[in-house]
């Protein structure tokens, strides 16, 4: 029996056990989930050791140049300090490493969001209204741009939750904001609907692939 056949049989059994969740939560399904978590953890640990730590940290420190060694001292110390996060008493020693990671990550995220999303989307929202080099307009492009602009503004207006309070009355948003927020609700509903439909279609595609695997296995097993 070849290894591929063994793994194929194992995959077939595990697939059936996962699909058996339609009958409800049962121990066999739990076994599969535990197995999946364990295998994933082991795989990640092996992957990090053999792909990250050894080739990128240990080997350069042992046999690298002086420049490589010097450049890896700080990462090595910070990595060692992260180990102390395992113990609550000494977890403070790992705080500098965590602070460094969080700080750098936040800085990268913010800068990327500004340059990649904010400016990009702002430019994208204006692009439909650009006049072509010949001075012609595309009605459909402008209409699409208008819809896109209305959707963007109305969706942002929906998340405007602050209002003005006058004469001791209950604070309320301005009428314009209320109107835009109502429109924004429609766009948000469409967006959430498309996300739900996308998730459903993605799951359906995955299910189809698994059913095809089962049928293929059965056909190949009996053929």
């Amino acid at each position: 029996m070849s290894p591929d056949l063994i793994w194929t049989i194992a995959a077939f059994i595990l697939t059936l056990l996962v699909l058996s969740y339609a009958l409800g939560d049962h121990p066999l399904f739990k076994v599969v989930t535990y197995l999946f978590v364990g295998v994933s953890s082991g795989f990640i640990a092996i992957l990090i050791i053999y792909q990250i730590l050894f080739p990128r940290l240990v080997v350069p420190l042992m046999s690298g140049t002086i420049g490589e060694k010097i450049s890896l001292i700080v990462p090595a110390i910070l990595s060692l300090l992260l180990i102390f996060k395992l113990t609550p008493r000494l977890s403070n020693l790992g705080s500098p490493s965590m602070g460094f990671l969080v700080g750098v990550g936040a800085a990268a995220t913010i800068s990327g969001a500004i340059t990649g999303t904010l400016f990009g989307q702002f430019e994208g929202a204006l692009s439909p209204f650009e006049v072509s080099a010949g001075g012609s307009f595309s009605a459909g492009q402008i209409f699409s741009g208008i819809i896109l602009l209305i959707g963007t503004i109305s969706s942002l207006a929906y998340f405007q939750f602050t209002g003005l309070q006058k004469n001791g009355q209950k604070g309320s948003r301005p009428a314009v904001v209320k109107f835009l927020s109502n429109i924004g609700q429609v766009f948000i509903a469409i967006t959430l609907g498309s996300l739900f439909a996308g998730a459903l279609s993605a799951a359906l595609a995955a299910l189809i692939e698994r059913v095809d695997f089962i049928l293929t296995f059965i056909q190949s097993f009996f053929s």
């Binding site: 795989f43 989307q121 189809i208 692939e209």
Partner: protein, 790 residues
Amino acid sequence: MKDLICPACGTSNPADAIYCRACFRTLITSENPTPDKANEWLNDLRNSDNLESPESDSSTGESDSTPEDEGDIPDWLARIRQRNREENPPLNPEEEPTEPIKTGENLPDWLNEIEPPAPEPEDNEKDTLPDWLNAIDKETASGIEPPASENKDWLEQLPFESQLSKNDSAEDDWLNRFRDVPPISDQSANETSPQETGSDEFKFGSLVNPVFQGQDSDTPLPLDFEGNTQPEPPDEKDIPDWLKSFDKSPRPSQPSEQAEDLENTDKNLIASEQKFSGEDFEENGIPIPPDESAIPGWLTSFDNQERPENIEGTHSTDWMQTEETEDADESASLEGQLYQGDVRHKWLDQIEPQKPTDDSDSSTLTPPTGFSLNGSSEKSDDDLNSDQDQKTYDAEQANPQAFHDNGPLEEGELPDWLKAIQPAEAASLDLEDSDFNSKIETKGPLAGFQGILPGRPTTGRYPSPVQQALLQVTEKQRSFADLLENVISQESVAQSIPETKKAASFFIFRLLIGIAIIALITFTLLKGNTVQSPYPGLFPLETVSFFNTIQTLSSSEGDAARVLVAVDYEAGLAGELNTLAEGTLQDLAAGGARLTFLSDIPAGAALSQQLVNTAAANAPNFQLEDQYINLGYLPGGTTALASLAANPQQTVPVDLNSSPAWGKPGLVGITKLSDFNALVLITDSGENARAWIEQVGSALGETPLLVISSAQSAPIVQPYVQSQQVAGMISGLAGAASYEQLAQRSNGSVRKYWDAYQTGLILMVAMIVLGGLVQIVRNLFTRPRNVKKS
């Protein structure tokens, strides 16, 4: 007779010894009288003295003492009196000495033991008895004014003897004041304030006995410890005011009920007091306070031994008053703590209920200032540090009843206005005082005594300060605070999730849905391509753009296109994304492009290998060694992507096999991401796709960013397609079908799954619509709950 064992040092003493020969302590053996017996002999002693008092003598003309009364007098005192009578015949008929006191049966045992078995010569007896005791004997037992030289023995010891007058007649008056204490039995008739007498005798004792000056009360110190001159009896006008006030200063009466309350609060203290002060008077229903004016100073010291802290505030000598003046603030605070309720002694209650005997005397005498045992009702001059206090004090002394609304303040009781401002710590402090005062010394010269040390372990027992936070809030603020408190309390309580009862139909319905979908998919897959559903007739623009870019890379002549493929999806959606990316990778592989795989998720490396294997299977000319490089896993998330955009070689120096990656043919000459011909991102997460676009997009330059997205993440990536930050995209199986249709490929996996995909979507849509209709119909035929309730 057996020997007496000193309770302090354990030294054996003769049976007739009064003091221990080793430590000079008063011998208190196990045969010591019980408090009841001690009270009896003390009471008898007072009665005998009262019979000898000038008042009773003046009223009867002769001594009223009887043999029974004399029999209650201690023998030692009787012997002393007898001796003095023999030596000093009475000078005044009114001051006839009483008959010798015979040894009575009611005497306590320890007094009987003290009595010598046989009379001794007077000289020897004088030698054995201290001078001060002889002086007292002459005063009390004989009733005759002793010679000035003898009566002044104890006065010779005083440091202020120079202040006293040497007038004999004045001396008589001065001493008679101590004898003018009314008989205890005639308390109701005489209005002498027992508190006054008690206080006077107490102060008297403090003068003649160094015990009251803070020295060890058990040690029989000689009286001639200071001065050698023979002081004359003081003249009335030469007597200092503070000493005059001892006799006749009015004392606010104290209700005897207060003593009972105090007795209940501190049993230990009272028990210790009863040992020496004759507490049983009140317990037997005879509220006769001890007439301490008739008790010699050394006997009163038994009381005072237990309250040295109280005596500290009653020093009367000038030099001690000077000390008190210096420590006025400290002693005032200490006194305030000592006289708070439960720390007041029982013997004070015994004294206080007595009334002044002579109103005229009490009115003429100056108020007592230096011996304030009442704490709050009487104040010393030292305590009056301001004019306001002086005014208050004068008003209080003028009319104490009017000054206090609820009558005179009891000892140890604070006035109402002072209680109102009393700090919260004081209340808890009082509770600890009683415990401390009941402590019995076990070591040192004070062993065996209870609560004798005035010090207290403040540092160890002082309660933690009570934080009083009185926040002034309005009703509105209070309501908001209550509302917030309710919200927080509800949040802190775990909400029990009601277990929904799932009907059997629910389980069956869910099972039927699953079976229906799987059966339909199976049927569609099994039927094959017999009946094909059409592909989409309209192609999305991003899909067309994607196809055009891939075709450009695949058909490039000369150098092979170098494409970086980023794998960013989990294994759970591998069935979908592998299908979506299959056609693209097949075209790139067939076009000879060099594919470099990189993943930012751990499972991406293995999924990349699976993708390449599938592409290589569909592209026979694809050479894995030359056209494929797997850089493996890139840890760090967004930060790693930023680093990759900045410096790819430093960020990913080695490939999956830990060999240098950037020297391989597919990566030679590439130093930055813009050197790649294209970046293909395969993702199932909109967030990860956005991270790639944000961090890497700006570093790509003219290099197109192509996205193969799962259907669930396509709506999030779509805006970046609209903004042209993404050059092309395949979203979901529909986008892959469009790509295959554009590529004119009819045997791909998309075609195989497309029918089942379409059928499954139709089934799902049908079930959603059917479920919505059922819900609408149910709502139409179901009455609302509020209508039912109404």
